[in-house]
Symmetry: C2
Subunit: 337 residues, 2 copies
DNA sequence: CTGAAAGCGCTAACAT
DNA sequence: ATGTTAGCGCTTTCAG
């Protein structure tokens, strides 16, 4: 692979000039520039990005730390970051944290070693203090899907409460009065917020939500099935079922049909996230669309900007996105009685 | 951020010694090593990987070029590569090719700029000649999901013909005699191979597969629906439907039910890939499991090995994986008549 | 407008 | 066993 010296030699100029041409520096004569560019093309020269990064102490690389790529949600998140990366000619460095605090930090540190200054982090288990400290050390760190007041301007997150409230209200508007909820056993953040949105909407409508109508399980298809089976086993009566996410909703639909209940005729089901599974199940799932890809692109742009412009940080603002109701076929109206 | 000089100074040794400690070189005294390690910890020193890469001309980075991360299949593929990367303490550099030949090459080149020597490539559109040339230039390049005889030992791929044949045979064994196939309009590679597997199995059993029983469409849920609608519209009769992939199979199930046909009572449907949608639809899909994640991990290991050991290449071998039948609920036996 | 030269942080001979 | 030193390929003053 040709290097800058080769180009300089062949073009009959100094390496400094070649460097200027590469970097679009204006102070190069036209004839000279043309000649250098010709040689670059001929030799197939491409600057060594490690050397560039070493000397300029800055690198066009954005890092992403995410729990589990194989899950649709995170794959989509990664796609969003990648989109921004491509648009801005950044490289994307990935690290999977596998849901463990320590590897979350390891992952971030390894990104820093590669002096990657813009980082998008989906942190599941690190506590706020750790994250705040990290944010101070890394100007280009942006959190996605998490809100920490102290670093609000570095958080790109979704209003889960409003989303869940919206879904609940829609069910209320369709005359449902008997609700059940299946949620994650991990009642941290998202599940907690969504449950809260449901609770306060129901409370506002004077509709009781008994504890026995809430079932916790793992946040996947199997968990959804088990949760509904449990609900049914203890004879909870409901015409509307709110699931923590699409996966649980899909499991719920399976369990409901297995028990001889029809969706949406007997029970209406609504999910959250709007993953591909929502369109795969039958009936197709009515759900709250989580604009992950858009949010991730946005977060990446934010991270890049923060990492380059060290302007005074506008601390008094955060980046809150809203989920949107997607009405498909898993919800029906109840005739008022 | 502390650098190697800082560590050397504080520890009262030369930078060479620090370097030796970092790299686990044995020729360092115990006391000395301990002292250096202590200082490293105290200062929170982490070697600058750009400098390391620059001088050693080698980098613990594996690159992945893939069409579209947001699709489950590719997300899972990425997860597989990531797994190997983590196990071997490699970094994962991603590049999305977005299904365009030029960006496929751009992506690879940008990986090379970062002198990343191990690369896993899922090439959709580059022609064989280009890939062969690339493989010559990059010892650590491995192709996934594609077979090119000239570089067989660099290909990690799936026997699509055998997989499709297996699915077809299973249907035959269950006494199906009237087949229909929905496949991708892009008849390159995978779709072609799978169709071939179906064709030859059917031919072997003396069962005709008329052209009118084959419908092409886009390889997604909508495409599956449209294809089945087309089949139905032209009154093709079939009790067994083979879909190019799970997405199309799911769309097919939707369209079949919409037309008043039951799955599997009236028609048996089988997919290919075993994505999460296969478990989301109802009935859950019988499908051929594509071990993408495993293959991707394997490909990554192979890429790393090839990039480091430049041993004589064992050209007389390839890396062929087999898909496995997963029987769920979308297939029923026909009573022999 | 262009060139010479000084490093960026690290590794790897080569000395001692 | 440890230190000295010469680069790796590039950017960036500083001269001219």
């Amino acid at each position: 692979m040709a290097n800058i010296k080769d180009v300089a030699r062949v073009a009959g100029v100094s390496i400094a000039t070649v460097s200027r041409v590469i970097n679009g520096n204006h102070k190069v004569g036209d004839a000279c520039r043309a000649r250098v560019q010709k040689v670059i093309k001929e030799l197939g020269y491409r600057p060594n990005s490690n050397a560039q990064a070493l000397v300029s102490k800055t690198k066009s690389t954005i890092g992403l730390v995410t729990p589990k790529l194989a899950m649709t949600f995170f794959g989509t998140l990664a796609a969003g970051v990648e989109k921004t990366a491509r648009e801005q000619s950044y490289k994307l460095l990935m690290a999977n944290s596998m849901y463990e605090t320590q590897s979350e930090l390891d992952a971030i540190n390894s990104l820093r070693d590669h002096n990657c200054q813009a980082i998008v982090l989906h942190s599941e288990y690190s506590d706020e203090k750790t994250l705040i400290k990290l944010a101070e050390e890394i100007p280009g760190l942006v959190l996605i899907n998490r809100y920490i007041p102290a670093i609000a301007h570095r958080c790109v997150w979704l209003d889960n409460i409003a989303g869940a409230a919206h879904a609940t209200q829609m069910l209320l508007d369709k005359n449902h009065r008997d609700f059940a909820v299946i949620t994650s056993i991990y009642q941290n953040r998202d599940p907690g917020a969504r449950l809260q949105g449901i609770r306060q909407t129901l409370a506002g409508a004077q509709i009781p939500l008994k504890d026995e109508a809430i079932e916790e399980s793992t946040a996947n298809i199997e968990g959804g099935m088990q949760a509904v089976e449990a609900l049914l086993a203890r004879k909870v009566r409901f015409t509307a079922l709110l699931a923590y996410n699409d996966l649980m909703a899909v499991g719920a639909i399976h369990a409901l049909f297995a028990a001889g209940l029809r969706v949406p005729e007997d029970v209406s089901v609504v999910g959250f996230d709007d993953l591909i599974v929502a369109r795969a199940c039958r009936p197709q799932l009515t759900t709250m669309h989580y604009p992950v890809e858009e949010m991730a692109s946005y977060a990446a742009r934010l991270a890049i900007e923060l990492s380059s412009n060290s302007t005074a940080e506008p601390a008094h603002r955060t980046h809150l996105f809203l989920s949107q109701l997607i009405e498909r076929d898993s919800v029906a109206s109840r005739s008022a009685n």
